[in-house]
């Protein structure tokens, strides 16, 4: 069984060298100590209550040995840890910057060409990337196991991650600083694309192709995909369970009661307004019992996608 994730960045092999090195040291030490514990128990088992034992209190040679060897090993491990850390924290000159904003419980990414994505980070392969990260609320932490990178994100200062992806593919992104109810659903994906695919994604042609293929799938199914990929899943359940936001199950057509005491039937326009202006009156209204925490999806979802989500909600009876 594999005990390490796939190596997909220039930093990963270095980390794995340390993990292997310390594992080997640990296994040898454990086997040695475990063996001696058992061996001594067997060999020097008490034979009678009057066993004679020597009064050994110290042994300069042994004590020097087991001081010096661990010291040397510690120095070696430190140096390995330092060298690779130094590489990781040094930003390459040609690095492309991407701005990252973390918010309970969504990642959003702003690219230099004006594009913006939610929970899905797109990067070209073999291109040094520098993430410039901040949080809108509590602490979060950006962690991609395949890249072996992790950095806390906070509200009062920018933090940074450097990485260069080495393999095309889709990798998991986790939040690793506890941030409340939906902490374990604050997930994302990192898409590492070939230079050509990235270029087409960047100029929007990939989007158009995706839209074209999206046109071929039923809206409710597209809505289901968007439910996960756009982060709705973090706060809205589809099985009736209470979350940070109201469940989507049985939502459509139901009467909603708001914090200001007014009521409204949840129809298409209500849902669309709630997606685009979730907390901003007059369109945005907060259902009684919930907080005004949802970010606006204006500019992140187009009309056909919003329609798809509405169609999806309609199927959740």
């Amino acid at each position: 069984m594999n005990w390490l994730p796939i190596q997909a960045s220039t930093f990963a092999p270095g980390v794995d060298i340390i993990l292997w090195l310390v594992t080997i040291i640990s296994v040898i030490s454990c086997v040695l100590i475990g063996f001696l514990l058992v061996y001594f128990c067997v060999k020097y088992k008490r034979k009678s209550d009057n066993d004679q034992t020597p009064a050994i209190t110290h042994d300069s040679f042994l004590e020097t040995l087991w001081t010096v060897i661990p010291t040397i090993l510690c120095i070696v491990i430190f140096i390995y840890g330092y060298v690779y850390y130094d590489q990781y924290t040094t930003t390459p000159k040609n690095a492309v910057e991407i701005n990252v904003t973390a918010k309970q419980w969504i990642w959003s990414f702003d690219y230099s060409n004006g594009k913006k994505t939610l929970n899905e980070l797109y990067v070209p392969v073999d291109q040094p990337i520098r993430l410039v990260m901040q949080s809108d609320d509590v602490l979060h932490s950006f962690f991609v196991p395949a890249f072996r990178v992790k950095q806390d994100v906070m509200g009062n200062r920018y933090t940074y991650i450097n990485f260069t992806a080495t393999k095309e593919g889709v990798y998991d992104l986790y939040c690793t600083e506890y941030c409340g109810t939906a902490h374990s659903d604050m997930l994302g994906k990192v898409h590492v694309l070939s230079k050509a695919k990235f270029a087409s994604w960047e100029d929007g042609s990939a989007d158009k192709a995706k839209k074209a293929s999206a046109a071929n799938i039923p809206p409710a199914e597209l809505g289901n995909q968007l439910y996960s990929s756009k982060g709705c899943v973090a706060c809205h359940s589809i099985d009736g369970a209470d979350g940070v936001g109201p469940t989507w199950k049985g939502l459509f057509g139901k009467e909603r009661e708001f914090t200001d005491g007014t009521k409204e039937i949840a129809d298409e326009n209500y849902i669309k307004n709630s997606i685009l202006y979730p907390v901003k009156p007059p369109q945005g209204k907060i259902v009684k019992g919930y907080g005004a925490v949802m970010p606006s999806y204006k500019g992140l979802l187009d009309d056909s996608e919003i329609t798809a989500i509405i169609e999806y909600i309609k199927t959740l009876k």
Binding site: M1, W3, L4, F11, G14, I18, V22, I25, S26, C30, I33, G34, L37, F40, C41, Y44, K45, R46, K47, D49, D51, Q52, T53, A55, I56, T57, D59, L62, E63, W66, T67, P70, C74, I77, F78, G81, Y82, Y84, Y85, Y88, V138, L139, S141, P145, K150, M154, G155, N156, R157, T159, D172, C175, T176, E177, Y178, G180, T181, A182, S184, G243
Partner: protein, 531 residues
């Protein structure tokens, strides 16, 4: 004098008041033992629920919010109500005067007051459970400022518990300076006392910092002062510095007394002097002092500067060496000994092996580049539990069995206790070893939900809790049902002072203050053949 000694400390006075208002260090130690035992069981039940929840991804039995409360309850109760005050206050109280040849601690009333403070702090902590915190035991800001849970009460409870620790620490330090029997020189002081001394130093010096930090947190929540919340111009990382400046030394508050216990038990069941007495004694002090300078290794990815990270990494490795020395010293105490595998000895051997794994996995986390990957994953959870359960709790259980005859004046069923040990040892490894692999694979900690590929390891880990749970119950069952008949004063033929009187001891411990003429752990009759 002898009339006073006719009754042992357990029989001398009956009823609630005779315990609640006692100034006898042994009774106070026993009361601590009961109290921490209750909290240990509550916190353990919370952890069993946490593990049960992980049988499937998503919801198994509780909601995400309840899960967050459960792991917070487990962590904060284990740390602040059980493990920090635990071994030091219970066995420290019971044993230190017996070991140094004193009739009591130097400030018996202060000792009782410390216990009351402990109860009061624990009561406040329990009241706070009406709206239980969901912050994790670390209370990181700004989440702990924004959450609707009852953070103020729970931290205020911990603040009070801190005073209990400080006063107990002062009491132990002064007792060891002032009340050692004639001839009980520092180089004859039992190693449990050395460990308790180092622990007390940490409690006196480090606990005020967490007290101040929690006060600042209360001020921030209650009065809106902006220390840690970025929205008010504060710095959340500063909270982490304050918190770990206490909580790293606290790790050694938790482990040092257990190390002391192992140092007491190994010579008795090996019939050999402890190997490297001075090395262990000084290592205790060295660990205590260096532990103040390594807090930043909890914060390698917190956003603190690169240079600071490098410095903390270096100092962290400096603390690894004295710890390694101790392990080898315990191991070599067995060499050419006459070894009896009693239950207490089995727990001690379990301690040495599991603590070694706990220590070695710390080497992964001290290496900067590796920590970037492993930080806040299950690897840390596993590492921490190998040290805290494999280390402290195994040491604590060793002590429960080892001093059982002295404390209760009865013997227990060794056979059943050994079966319980085997279950606990196996169960523990089944729970926590898979978590190392979960961590290296990248499974973050404090996750209610998880990806399906992690399920088999999670399920295995949960099965382990059922094995260890049965072990706990069997151990408790065995210890609650002592064998008939009175325990001898010295069932193990120990040469240590605490075994020199009847079991259980009289209220004033010694008829006459003894004069110490021999080195500590003076075992071994054969002439020493090597230098």
């Amino acid at each position: 004098m002898s009339e006073v000694q006719e009754k042992n400390y357990l029989d001398n006075g009956e009823g609630f008041a005779s315990w609640f208002f006692t100034v006898d260090h042994k009774r106070i130690g026993v009361m601590y033992l009961w109290a921490i035992g209750v909290f240990f069981i509550i916190a353990a039940i919370a952890s069993f629920l946490v593990r049960f929840e992980h049988l499937t991804p998503g919801q198994t039995i509780v909601s995400a919010d309840t899960y967050n409360v459960l792991f917070t309850l487990h962590g904060s109760m284990m740390v602040f109500l059980f493990i920090v005050p635990g071994v030091a206050a219970s066995f420290g109280n019971f044993l230190i005067p017996l070991m140094i040849g004193a009739k009591d601690v130097i400030f018996p009333k202060l000792n009782l007051y410390s216990f009351w403070l402990y109860l009061f702090g624990a009561a406040v902590f329990m009241i706070a459970l009406a709206a239980p915190a969901d912050t994790g035991w670390t209370f990181y800001t700004p989440y702990s400022i924004e959450t609707g849970a009852n953070v103020i009460l729970i931290t205020f409870g911990i603040f009070i518990l801190g005073f209990s620790s400080i006063l107990t620490g002062i009491n132990f330090i002064v007792t060891m300076h002032k009340l050692r029997a004639p001839g009980m020189t520092w180089d004859r002081l039992p190693l449990f006392c050395w460990a308790a001394y180092a622990t007390s130093l940490l409690q006196v010096l480090a606990t005020p910092v967490v007290g101040i930090t929690l006060l600042l947190l209360i001020g921030e929540r209650y009065f809106g002062l902006g220390f840690f919340d970025p929205a008010r111009g504060g710095d959340p990382v500063m909270f982490q510095h304050f918190f770990w400046f206490y909580s790293h030394p606290a790790v050694y508050i938790m482990i040092l007394p257990a190390m002391g216990i192992i140092s007491e038990i190994m010579p008795v069941f090996s019939r050999k002097p402890i190997f490297g007495y001075k090395a262990i004694a000084y290592a205790s002090l060295a660990i205590a002092l260096i532990s103040f300078l390594v807090w930043g290794h909890h914060m390698f990815v917190s956003g603190q500067s690169k240079l600071v990270n490098i410095i903390f990494s270096v100092i962290t490795y400096a603390v690894a060496v004295p710890t390694a020395i101790k392990v080898f010293n315990w191991l070599w105490t067995m060499y050419k000994g006459s070894i009896e595998l009693s239950t207490a000895m089995l727990y001690s051997l379990g301690f040495i092996f599991l603590f070694t794994i706990g220590g070695l996995t710390g080497l992964f986390l001290g290496a900067l580049a590796a920590d970037v990957h492993l930080h806040d994953t299950y690897f840390v959870v596993a590492h921490m539990h190998y040290v805290m359960i494999g280390g402290t709790v195994f040491g604590f259980f060793a002590a429960l069995h080892f001093w059982y005859p002295k404390m209760w004046g009865r013997m227990f069923d060794e056979f059943k206790a050994k079966i319980a040990f085997v279950l606990i040892f196996i169960g523990f490894n089944v729970v926590f070893f898979p978590q190392f692999i979960l961590g290296t694979l990248g499974m973050p900690r404090r996750y209610f939900n998880y990806a399906p590929e992690f399920q088999s390891l999670h399920v295995l880990s949960t099965y382990g809790t059922w094995i260890i749970g049965v072990g706990f119950i069997l151990m408790l069952w065995t210890l609650m049902r002592p064998l008939p008949g009175k325990a001898p004063g010295n069932p193990y033929k120990s040469v240590s002072l605490e075994w020199s009187m009847e079991s259980p001891p009289g209220t004033f411990n010694f008829d006459e203050i003894p004069t110490i003429t021999e080195p500590v752990y003076n075992y071994g009759t054969k002439v020493e053949e090597e230098s």
